[in-house]
């Protein structure tokens, strides 16, 4: 009887995970965007930082090369989505090989500023609607393309399970330990540093392998974001 109850619970959990946790998108827009006080015509994408780990029954392992690859894929997906919204994405001026030390430092410092703000953004995302968050006008030190209206910060985390870990996670389904990918995109005014939009799509880890699924996830996460041409 006890096992039967557990079995039913497992089935319900699986159904829940498949249905609702498979793709969750959350989008928060600054009133300046909603009230069309700010028009975004052009965006500069900062290098994405998506970290994925391989989880086995013996713990987690770094996937440094794979993380770099997936970071590029997520950047492409965000770039594609912005272009779909008729927002011009300015050429990437942040290739490590083309930057000297001082430029690398400036980029790293701005990324650090964003990383310091990120936990608050994630925790209190709704406050983006109250225009609570800003990186300050230090963002101008990046001297991105003159036409760039916004800077786009991309962060993400993902867990990929080995077969052994998958088996353990199925057996211990009550622990709710699943592979997942969560990505956050912050759109920041390139002059004032104000956070204009923030999205945090979450999905099952298949988006880390499937570019189409990744594009779809990012696209959905920008659903509420207005297209420039419409303004």
């Amino acid at each position: 009887m006890r096992l039967q109850v557990r079995f039913v619970f497992v089935i319900l959990c699986c159904a829940f995970v498949h249905h609702s946790a498979a793709k969750t998108e959350a989008q928060y827009l600054n009133p300046k965007i909603l009230e069309k006080k700010v028009t975004i015509r052009s965006a500069a994408l900062l290098p994405a930082k998506v970290e994925i780990t391989k989880e086995s029954a013996k713990g987690s392992e770094m996937m440094v090369a794979e993380s770099a690859d997936i970071s590029s894929s997520v950047m492409e997906a965000v770039s594609y989505t912005l272009q779909q919204k008729k927002i011009n994405v300015v050429a990437n001026r942040f290739e490590p090989a083309s930057m000297d030390d001082s430029r690398k430092y400036q980029l790293a410092d701005i990324q650090t500023r964003y990383d310091a703000l990120l936990p608050k953004l994630v925790k209190k995302s709704k406050d983006v609607k109250n225009a609570r968050f800003t990186l300050g006008d230090e963002v101008m030190l990046l001297n991105v393309h003159k036409d760039a209206d916004v800077l786009v910060f991309i962060r993400g985390q993902g867990r990929m399970f080995t077969k052994g870990k998958t088996a353990f996670s199925i057996i211990n389904i009550f622990d709710l330990d699943f592979p997942f990918a969560t990505i956050t995109v912050g759109i920041v005014d390139a002059r004032s540093g104000e956070v204009l939009a923030f999205t945090k799509p979450m999905s099952a880890s298949k988006v880390l392998k499937d570019k189409k699924a990744l594009n779809k996830m990012i696209e959905k996460s920008f659903k509420k974001f207005p297209a420039t041409a419409a303004q």
Binding site: K58, A108, D137, F168
Partner: protein, 454 residues
């Protein structure tokens, strides 16, 4: 015997064995030599270790690409000289020694198992002389030479596997009665026990690195006192961050000071007062540029008290340096409504926890606004802004072409709502540094100011 009874005994025994496994991994054997050479090294690389190594190498490259490593010609050469002296001519398989400064204002240092030793600019700024630096480097070198990362990785893998198995047994334990209860109990407390064993293991390695590092630094000709003195320097809790965690009921750094001090022989070389002064002055001179960079980093990360602490050190070293005075002025400006030094009340554990909670919840602007509403905050801002203005003016007195001082003064006046003066300072900055990296930023500020004045 009843088959259920067999099952109970089997599962209980399995649980007990698995629980004891990771604890046995904590037992470390005494290692007589500090650095094993390629010839006499007993460490055999397995696939797991080589996989870890290849990931670490990629990570190391990434640090460089992402601008996390601080490069300055003299500093690079200096770190390399001290590091190489401690390493001597010992060579290890899969290790290529590199000694670099990491752009991070948090006082810390770490070693990657491929031989890359990183010392945060925050720690470089906190240390007082070369002997302390050598001690920090020697400590990290020991982690590499004793293959601590690989050992810990191996141990963690065993622990994680054990945890997963115990967890599974606990979740699917079909047995009732006292045996079933015992199994469930072991399963529920095992993660806690294992977590403690992981932390304890790390503590053993740290102690080994301290003691072996001390020997290595002394063998390379550095004063052994550098090790306990480096811990004493790290005890300077400028930001009020050092908190006792659940597993340590005693001051960890003090313990390290004690056991390293007691391991130094009575006849060991010590610095005279004059030698100590010279050593400090020499070290700070080499670190001057790195320290200035650290002040910038500390300000960027909202560690304003650290910024004041380090820039004050710079001013004490060269009081007539316009640049150093500028950094101190900038630090006081950014300190805003905070007091420069923590009060006794702010050093209490409760106050530190409260401050950490505030930091995690509020943005810096919100923290400033809240503090300004209090009489203490208001008084601190008044004192800090006055000090900042005096220092900016002093910096300009020392070098009237110091454009950064004009910019800083402009920002201070802007915050004090002295718009006319702020606009004047910004204009001077643009005149003196027309091609600076932040010209656009200052131009924008000036435009907004002028608009608001009209």
């Amino acid at each position: 015997m009843n088959p259920i009874r067999y099952c109970q005994i089997f599962l209980l025994t399995l649980c007990l064995i698995l629980t004891s496994l990771p604890l046995s991994a904590r037992v470390t054997t005494a290692k007589p030599n500090t650095f094993a050479t390629v010839e006499d090294e007993k460490f055999a690389f397995g696939k797991v270790d080589l996989d870890l190594l290849s990931e670490i190498k990629l990570l190391d490259e990434r640090f460089e690409k992402e601008g996390v490593v601080f490069h300055e010609k003299n500093l690079d050469a200096y770190l390399n000289r001290v590091g190489t002296a401690v390493v001597a001519d010992k060579k290890l398989e899969n290790v290529e020694w590199k000694f670099r400064a990491l752009r991070d204002p948090v006082p810390n240092a770490f070693a990657l198992p491929n031989g890359s030793i990183y010392i945060n600019t925050g720690l470089l700024a906190l240390l007082d002389d070369e002997n302390q630096l050598a001690a920090v480097i020697a400590h990290e070198i020991t982690h590499v030479s004793e293959r601590h990362t690989y050992e810990r990785n191996r141990s963690l893998r065993k622990i994680m596997l054990t945890m997963n198995i115990i967890n599974t047994i606990g979740n699917w334990n079909p047995i009732g009665g006292p045996a079933g209860l015992a199994i469930s109990l072991i399963a529920s407390v095992s993660p806690f026990m294992l977590a403690i064993s992981v932390l304890g293991y790390s503590k053993d390695q740290e102690k080994e690195a301290d003691l072996e590092g001390l020997k290595a630094a002394a063998a390379a000709g550095f004063v052994p006192d550098g090790m306990p003195n480096s811990f004493k320097a790290m005890q300077t809790d400028v930001e009020g961050e050092q908190m006792n965690s659940f597993y340590s009921d005693h001051p960890k750094l003090q313990e390290r000071v004690n056991y390293t001090t007691s391991s130094i022989g009575a006849d060991a070389r010590k610095l005279t007062e004059d030698e100590a002064k010279t050593a400090k002055s020499d070290y700070l001179t080499v670190m001057e540029l790195a320290d200035r960079h650290d002040v910038e980093l500390a300000i960027n990360e909202g560690r304003f008290r650290s910024a004041v602490y380090v820039s004050q050190k710079l001013v004490n070293l060269h009081p007539d340096s316009s640049e150093n005075v500028f950094y101190l002025a900038e630090s006081y400006r950014m300190l805003g409504p905070r007091n420069a030094e923590l009060t006794d009340q702010q050093r209490t554990s409760g106050a530190k926890k409260k401050a950490a909670k505030t930091r995690s919840k509020r943005t810096l602007e919100e923290q400033d606004a809240e503090l300004l509403k209090t009489p203490e905050g208001e008084a601190a801002w008044k004192a800090n802004s006055e000090k900042s203005e005096t220092l900016f003016l002093r910096s300009l007195e020392l070098n009237r072409f110091n454009a950064s001082a004009h910019r800083g003064l402009g920002m201070l006046y802007e915050r004090l709502n002295r718009k006319q003066e702020a606009a004047g300072e910004y204009a001077k900055y643009l005149e003196l540094a027309p091609n600076a990296i932040d010209t656009e930023r200052v131009r924008r500020r000036l435009a907004v100011l002028r608009e608001s004045m009209n």
